[in-house]
């Protein structure tokens, strides 16, 4: 304690505290680990994106003229595995969560910093294994590794890919475990549960899903591994094994995994909407509890992925019925965000644009989810582009929009520099337009019967496919533009003060970038979260508005 205060003199922060590569690789500072995750995730995102570019190009024409069908299968598998296991699932928790959560609860670090560092190494190891599997011959099972294809017919790279996903699972467990303990045991004095920012509530709910779900997919992947590598027969129909059992176990995790991707985004959006509407979140407790409700109900619905497998129709009815319940807490959130903006003084900076994007796109994604969870319509829509469009609206329209919004919102805090606002607004609009142009036609494609995962299709569908590919290029351009100006701002961006948005929350009370130990004086919380409407009541010493006072 006493040593910490003396070393952190003026201008010293976590980024310039030490400069060697080793000081990054061996750091236990949650902020540096968050930044390491950010860099690695950008790489994975590029890999997954490159695959998407290739198969979108292939789909410009009805004939399979650019890629062979095997290559096409490998590319969409690669896109799925990389984007889900190595980008979306860790995106907000591992980057923004790692960086912000300890600051938001007012502590020096997460509960287990070494475990936190280990999680990054484990993640990279898993990523490298999966990458080796992908470049060393490719995997063509789809990201779901369905049996018996994965265990009996697909090439043996499946083993490596499965190991990669298995190992990456440990990293999310480590992060989640850290978060739950940190939130429970390390909150600053005065920071009661209902004074926590909703982002923290969202991370808490997400972590519970990770802890309860990830081990199940881990053992399921182990089962594939032993069946594939040692010739045991667990899902082997020839021995009386049931491939549908694999789907049960797989979706027990992988459906809640959708909430691992979306709940953090909801947390981010709560922060952004409160800040840029200058209002306290309407129905704070409802938003907080609805995160937990989504986490819990999310575990009861996995069978809706299996309506047309040989799952019993009665089980299908139960799962269909339960699935509708997930929409309730989600709708509560959307209502409360809208009510927060009502009569607020809204300003349209880039983070708020992403939050708007999230609201609209995620609502479309969620509503189309209701079509799919209805047994009868699912029979028609199952395994078509309708499903593809639905989950991209949820995962990209929801998950990625939230991530980008959060990245812009906290960019000044993380780097100490402002991004260029004009470019950011432009890029946000480009991304929004590109996204819709890519995926909205896919709803139509799917509705008209275009199945997923084919590299050839009847010529009737070509117009819609060309629209989709054109949209993908716009989307890609938007991402690159963003990468460009964010990179530029690292060196040339305007210096950000401690609180450039005049936002509330402990993270804005420390300097930008924060010192290694986060706070020079351990914070004490005296008021509720989002005290935007009570500006006069907040004491000046708890809101240093310029970095010099830090």
């Amino acid at each position: 304690m006493s040593t910490a205060t003396s070393t952190a003199s003026e201008g010293k922060h976590y980024l310039n505290a030490k400069h060697t590569v080793l000081s990054w690789l061996l750091t236990v500072d949650h902020k540096r680990i968050g930044m390491m995750y950010l860099v690695s995730l950008v790489v994975f995102f590029l890999i997954g994106g490159a695959a998407a570019v290739l198969f979108r190009l292939e789909l410009m024409t009805p004939a399979g003229d650019l890629l062979r069908s095997e290559t096409y299968n490998k590319l969409f598998t690669m896109h799925g595995i990389v984007m889900i296991f190595f980008f979306l699932i860790p995106s907000i928790p591992a980057v923004l969560g790692n960086f912000l959560l300890p600051i938001m609860v007012g502590t020096r670090d997460v509960a287990f910093p070494k475990l936190n560092l280990a999680s990054w190494y484990v993640f990279m190891l898993g990523g490298i294994l999966a990458f080796v599997a992908i470049v060393g011959g490719g995997v063509d099972t789809g990201w779901t590794f369905y049996t018996p294809y994965s265990t009996m017919y697909a090439n043996s790279n499946v083993i490596l890919a499965v190991c990669g996903a298995f190992i990456a699972g440990f990293s999310s467990i480590m992060t989640a475990l850290n978060f739950v303990v940190t939130i429970h045991k390390m909150r600053a004095p005065g920071l009661t549960w209902f004074r926590l920012p909703l982002f923290v509530w969202a991370m808490y709910a997400t972590s519970l899903v990770v802890l309860l779900g990830t081990p199940v997919v881990a053992i399921t992947l182990v089962m594939i591994f032993v069946e594939r590598a040692f010739g045991l027969g667990i899902f082997n129909p020839a021995l009386g094994g049931d491939p549908v059992l694999f789907q049960h176990l797989f979706w027990f995790y992988s459906h809640p995994a959708v909430y691992i991707m979306i709940l953090p985004s909801m947390g981010v959006v709560s922060e952004i909407i409160a800040c840029f509407s200058r209002r306290r979140i309407y129905g704070y407790k409802f938003v907080a509890y609805s995160s937990l409700a989504i986490a819990v109900i999310g575990f009861f619905v996995w069978g809706h992925h299996m309506f047309v497998s040989s799952q019993s129709t009665y089980a299908g009815m139960i799962f269909s019925f339960l699935t509708f319940f997930v929409a309730v807490p989600t709708a509560i959130k959307v209502l409360n965000w809208t009510m927060t903006m009502y009569k607020g003084s809204i300003s349209l900076e880039a983070p708020m644009l992403y939050a708007f994007g999230f609201l609209g796109l995620f609502t479309i994604g969620g509503m189309t989810g209701l079509f799919l969870s209805t047994l009868a319509t699912d029979i028609h829509l199952h395994d078509t582009y309708f499903v593809v469009a639905h989950f991209h609206y949820v995962m990209v329209g929801g998950g990625v929009m939230g991530f980008l919004g959060g990245l812009h919102f906290w960019w000044p805090k993380m780097t100490g520099r402002m991004y260029p606002e004009g470019w950011a607004i432009f890029a946000a609009i480009v991304i929004f337009v590109g996204f819709n142009l890519t995926f909205f036609p896919q709803f139509q494609l799917g509705y008209h019967g275009m199945p997923r995962r084919y590299h050839e299709y009847p010529a009737d569908f070509q117009v819609l496919h060309i629209m989709s590919t054109a949209g993908a290029s716009v989307l890609g351009f938007g991402y690159l533009l963003m990468a460009g100006y964010l990179g530029w701002s690292l060196k040339f961006g305007k210096k950000a003060g401690a609180n450039p948005w005049d936002a509330r929350g402990l993270e804005w009370e420390t300097s930008s970038p924060p010192p290694t130990e986060n706070f020079l004086v351990p914070p004490v919380v005296r008021h509720e979260a989002y005290a935007y409407e009570f500006e006069s009541e907040t004491s000046p010493e708890s809101h240093p508005s310029s970095e010099s006072s830090a």
Binding site: M1, S2, T107, R108, D109, V110, A111, F112, P113, I173, L177, V180, V181, H184, K185, M186, L211, L212, G213, T214, P215, V216, A218, I219, T220, V222, M223, V226, E227, F230, G231, L232, G233, I234, N236, A238, L239, G240, G241, D242, L245, H248, L249, F252
Partner: protein
């Protein structure tokens, strides 16, 4: 509190009690992930046993109930010595601590050796699933399914034992250096919880694998 920051108190914690509570909570959270991990296997077991009760009995009959029971006893005894290790650490009794840790390691080793003999016998009887599997009697395919579960479940359990023994060795070395005392024994306590959990898994595996339809 913060003016006395002992060497065993990590920098992110305010005091020893907070650190203790955090580590205990951390290991319990880890254990729920373990419950779900083995839970996936148990789910598969339940589903298939419901489908093939006869084959499951036939497979179970081939297992050596004596060795299974001895192993259960060995593991429970090791849980006792583990509990006594924690007890000794709480009281700061260094010698007792290292002695009990060694006993736990030894018993864990005995378990694994017996398990290895059982595995070897299964290889000898061609009961290992795969190309060389051979079972005289009805439902041979489903019996193979049973043995797939037998090996996956006991194998996963054994891997957990091996990891546990590794950690115990580390603890033992640390305890020899006198690292643990009344105010700081979290690693012993946390390892103890893990070890008991591994014992718990076996408590369920034993009747489910060895004791089906013995009458």
């Amino acid at each position: 509190m913060s003016d006395s920051h002992p060497s065993y108190l990590a920098h992110q914690f305010d005091d020893v009690e907070q650190q203790r509570q955090a580590s205990t909570m951390g290991i319990w959270l880890f254990l729920i992930t373990e419950v779900m991990f083995f839970g996936g296997l148990f789910t598969g077991y339940i589903v298939y046993r419901g489908m093939y009760p006869e084959a499951w009995k036939l497979g179970s009959h081939e297992l050596n109930i004596l060795l299974g029971a001895i192993n259960t006893a060995v593991l429970i005894l090791s849980s006792l010595t583990m509990a006594l290790s924690v007890h000794a650490a709480q009281l700061g009794e260094q010698k007792k601590l290292s002695r009990n840790l060694l006993a736990t390691i030894g018993l864990g080793g005995v378990f694994l050796v017996i398990k290895a003999f059982e595995y070897k016998a299964k290889f000898g009887h061609h009961l290992v699933p795969g190309e060389h599997f051979h079972f005289e009697g009805p439902f041979s395919n489903q019996v193979q399914l049973f043995y797939s579960f037998y090996f996956t479940m006991t194998g996963m359990h054994a891997i957990h034992m091996v990891i546990g023994i590794g950690i115990l060795f580390w603890l033992w070395a640390q305890s020899r250096k006198g690292k643990f005392h009344k105010d700081y024994y979290n690693p012993v306590e946390v390892t103890g919880l893990y070890w008991h959990f591994v014992d718990l898994v076996w408590i369920f595996l034993f009747p489910l694998l060895y004791l089906i339809g013995r009458h």
